[in-house]
């Protein structure tokens, strides 16, 4: 038996439950099952799949699009290395002819003291001299595998405030919407997802190599170019993320959204002006304490007045509260765009009955039972001496 002992130290038994639950948030249920069940599309944004095209073919795409005068073109792709004149020159020329062009950049090396970034990576100067840039980093926690729920609108990199890719694009399309958005002053914003690529006008790369496609719809629109699969919506592991729109909000499933489509959702949210609000952390904590305390009061009351009902009522009431909380969080999120951060409450509710009983039936009894002995041990002689 002893040879099995090391196994207990090699395996994190709680890992499977931890992995499953920490990838999950209750509000994901709202996005996955309840929201945006209609089929409305945001016609301000046109998505263009660049697939694995060579640079000169991407240049061809841009030339075709540019003829129809889009308001702005954003390219979610890095052009770090030079690949030779036959690839780079056409692309640089195509970029130079775009009225408004935004390329992605990447911020890195966070300074923990100043909370600013020390590095900014951009495409080659040959390309980004014609463009503005917006950083493309998503906020993904280490313990949440490629799950995107929030983003940061503004970050300071190299001592200069920088806008996220989507915000930079929206700024040129509808400046007043971006102003209203930035005036919220939030460090992070919950992404109000509209949907996957079917919620936007979309062109696959192949359509740029036939004569039959009408691209006139891009006029005065935002065009977002990026990777949406080897062909449209073939799911790969490149630039793919899990989002709350996934039809399975917990556990294993395929990632559901390409990075450029996430950006499209963020732009759409800014243009629609439909944001989410979060209650301050302190209010969440106060409410948690109040809920747990009220449970303890109820348990005490039941024990004093209705002892025979204590067990079934306490268990049923715990589960009723859990379900009520889930519906409250979902309802408030869905109807009022307000996120209640009550994750701590769930765990606390789950263990509240056990904690109450452990204190009342075990620890309190032990402490009260032990106290007279300790008292008598330290103060007993004086007390006996003092007695008449």
């Amino acid at each position: 038996m002893l040879k099995f002992l090391p196994i207990f130290f090699q395996i994190d038994f709680l890992d499977p439950i931890q992995n499953t639950l920490q990838d999950f948030q209750i509000t994901d249920i709202a996005f996955s099952q309840l929201m945006h069940q209609d089929s409305s599309i945001d016609s301000n944004i046109v998505l263009v799949n660049i697939s694995n095209l060579e640079r000169r073919d991407v240049a061809r795409q841009i030339d075709i699009l540019n003829r129809h005068k889009p308001k702005i073109i954003g390219v979610d792709g890095f052009f770090r290395e030079l690949q030779g004149v036959d690839q780079d020159i056409p692309l640089a020329r195509a970029f130079s002819e775009v009225d408004r062009l935004v390329l992605v950049s990447k911020i890195s090396n966070l300074n923990p003291q100043t909370r600013t970034w020390d590095s900014l990576e951009t495409s080659q100067s040959l390309f980004n001299r014609y463009s503005h840039d917006g950083y493309s980093n998503f906020i993904i926690n280490d313990d949440q595998f490629r799950t995107v729920r929030i983003f940061t609108p503004v970050q300071v990199a190299l001592d200069t405030p920088r806008l996220a890719f989507a915000v930079e694009i929206a700024k040129y399309y509808r400046p007043e919407a971006v102003q209203k958005f930035l005036s919220r002053g939030n460090e992070t914003e919950i992404i109000n997802f509209l949907g996957n690529s079917e919620r936007f006008l979309t062109f696959d790369y192949k359509q740029f190599f036939t004569d039959s496609t009408d691209f006139s719809i891009v006029k005065d629109k935002i065009v977002l170019m990026g990777y949406i699969g080897p062909t449209l919506n073939v799911l790969t592991n490149e630039d793919m993320f899990f989002t709350p729109m996934n039809d399975k909000y917990v556990g294993k499933s395929y990632p559901d959204m390409y990075g450029v489509v996430v950006w499209a959702n963020i732009i759409s949210m800014i243009l629609r002006g439909e944001y989410y609000y979060q209650i301050p952390e302190i209010i969440s904590q106060i409410l948690t304490i109040l809920i747990i305390f009220s449970n303890m009061v109820l348990f005490s009351y039941l024990r004093e007045k209705r002892e025979s009902l204590y067990e079934p009522v306490s268990i049923i009431w715990t589960f009723v509260q859990l379900f009520l909380l889930i519906f409250l969080i979902l309802g408030v999120f869905y109807f009022f765009n307000l996120e209640l951060k009550f994750e701590g409450v769930f765990f606390a509710l789950f263990i509240s009955k056990q904690a109450y009983e452990t204190w009342v039936d075990s620890l309190k009894v032990m402490i009260i039972g032990t106290m007279p002995r300790i008292y008598m041990k330290f103060f007993g002689k004086k007390t006996r001496d003092a007695m008449p």
């Binding site: 395996i11 499977p16 799911l235 399975k248 294993k252 009983e357 075990s362």
Partner: protein, 407 residues
């Protein structure tokens, strides 16, 4: 026998009855648990937790892939981007080195007539050839189906066939491939799976041993991902001048893995216990072709995993639950203030032992102990003991006394 002895015997009898009743209540609660997850909104939880298995930890936390030897009997060749003409050349080249069997885990379609004819001729030269086919809507309980999907008939005419379905009755987007089905039924007739058919040509005695086990499904004892097999890209073989001597007397599997593509198409991949993240969000990690290679490797080496029968799982759950009830009763009689802490400790220790034993025994003996019911039983036993002794039993006792008085 004194009056005290009689009292003790009576009390013990009552305790045993109390233990049996509260055990029964616990098992009833476990049976009703799945109903809670029947709400549509909670369906994702149901799928997530039904896919969870303790023994996945063996692959992710215990097994050291570097010490597991590659299976040198199996050669996997990725035939992506090969036209029928390219495939003809590849097969002709491979066949000249006399592999023991060639398995084609890919749908071949007709195209150019001349190319197709050449391919048919090349295929006819293969001594032992197996094609994969797909069962359409097989019944997960009976493994019956009434139709199959195969390559075009001109290609499969001189070959054996085996079904390649890996997850029957489950969506590959949400479930892990942990077991496979050696046999299924097509219009009442028994058919064998693709890995079984391929293994049959390599080692028929090993396949006989598998089929004699008579199990509807077998747990897959994974060797590893692509690095545990000899792996080549078909296009490279055609463009290069390689000596394919290593193919002689081996199993050659032709199919699409996507390794050389530079990215993975998710629809070609499955979740397996080899995934670096055994639960929660992750990318699928293994192609169907490599899973088949693992299956063939398992069959030929005879390294099967055994599984605890369901009746034994339930029996252990009942015994553990009843034992817990008796221990709780003893604690309550001896010193009630220790009950809360004691019951919690008992639950934690028992759970750790069950989880650790499950993983250790699977690791050492390839035996899967199915103790999920036992885990739930010991978790719920604490609550049911209290509900029974502090609520239900006094309630029934009062009601019984009232009835007696009336009577």
């Amino acid at each position: 026998m004194t009056r005290l002895d009689n009292l003790k015997r009576y009390r013990l009898k009552m305790l045993i009855w109390d233990g049996l009743i509260s055990t029964a209540l616990t098992l009833l609660s476990i049976a009703m648990l799945p109903l809670v997850l029947e709400f549509k909104l909670l369906e994702s939880f149901k799928v997530a937790f039904s896919d969870f298995q303790i023994t996945d930890a063996n692959y992710s936390d215990l097994r050291d892939p570097s010490i597991i030897a590659a299976d040198e009997n199996i050669v996997i060749i990725d035939i992506e981007r090969l036209t029928n003409q390219g495939l003809t050349m590849l097969i002709t080249k491979l066949n000249s080195y006399q592999p023991k069997v060639i398995g084609i885990d890919h749908d071949l379609e007709i195209g150019n007539e001349l190319e197709d004819l050449a391919l048919v001729n090349a295929l006819s030269e293969i001594k032992n050839l197996v094609f994969s086919e797909l069962l359409i809507n097989p019944n997960p309980s009976t493994l019956e189906c009434d139709s199959i999907n195969t390559s075009d008939s001109i290609f499969i005419v001189n070959s054996d066939r085996g079904f390649s379905n890996l997850l029957i009755g489950k969506d590959k987007r949400y479930y892990t491939v942990r077991e496979f089905y050696p046999e299924a039924y097509l219009n009442g007739e028994k058919i064998l799976s693709f890995p079984v058919m391929v293994a049959k040509y390599f080692d028929s005695a090993a396949v006989d041993k598998l089929l004699k086990r008579g199990l509807k499904s077998e747990i897959i004892n994974y060797r590893g991902n692509i690095s545990k097999f000899y792996f080549q890209y078909g296009l490279s073989i055609l463009e290069g001048d390689q000596d394919l001597e290593f193919v002689k007397d081996k199993i050659v599997l032709l199919g699409v893995d996507g390794f050389f593509r530079g990215y993975d198409k998710l629809k070609d991949l499955y979740f397996t216990p080899m995934n670096e993240r055994s639960s929660g969000r992750t990318f699928p990690d293994m192609s169907g072709l490599v899973i088949h290679a693992n299956l063939i490797s398992m069959i030929c080496s005879g390294s099967y995993c055994e599984s605890m029968p369901s009746w034994l799982s339930y029996l252990i759950a009942i015994i553990l639950c009843f034992t817990n009830m008796m221990i709780f009763s003893y604690i309550c009689i001896a010193n009630k203030k220790w009950f809360e802490i004691g019951s919690l400790l008992i639950f934690v220790v028992e759970s750790m032992i069950i989880l650790g034993l499950t993983v250790a025994i699977f690791d050492s003996f390839n035996y899967q102990m199915k103790l999920t019911e036992a885990l739930f039983a010991i978790a719920l036993s604490v609550f049911m003991f209290q509900i029974y002794n502090e609520s239900l039993k006094p309630l029934f006792t009062r009601a019984y006394r009232k009835l007696l008085k009336k009577g």
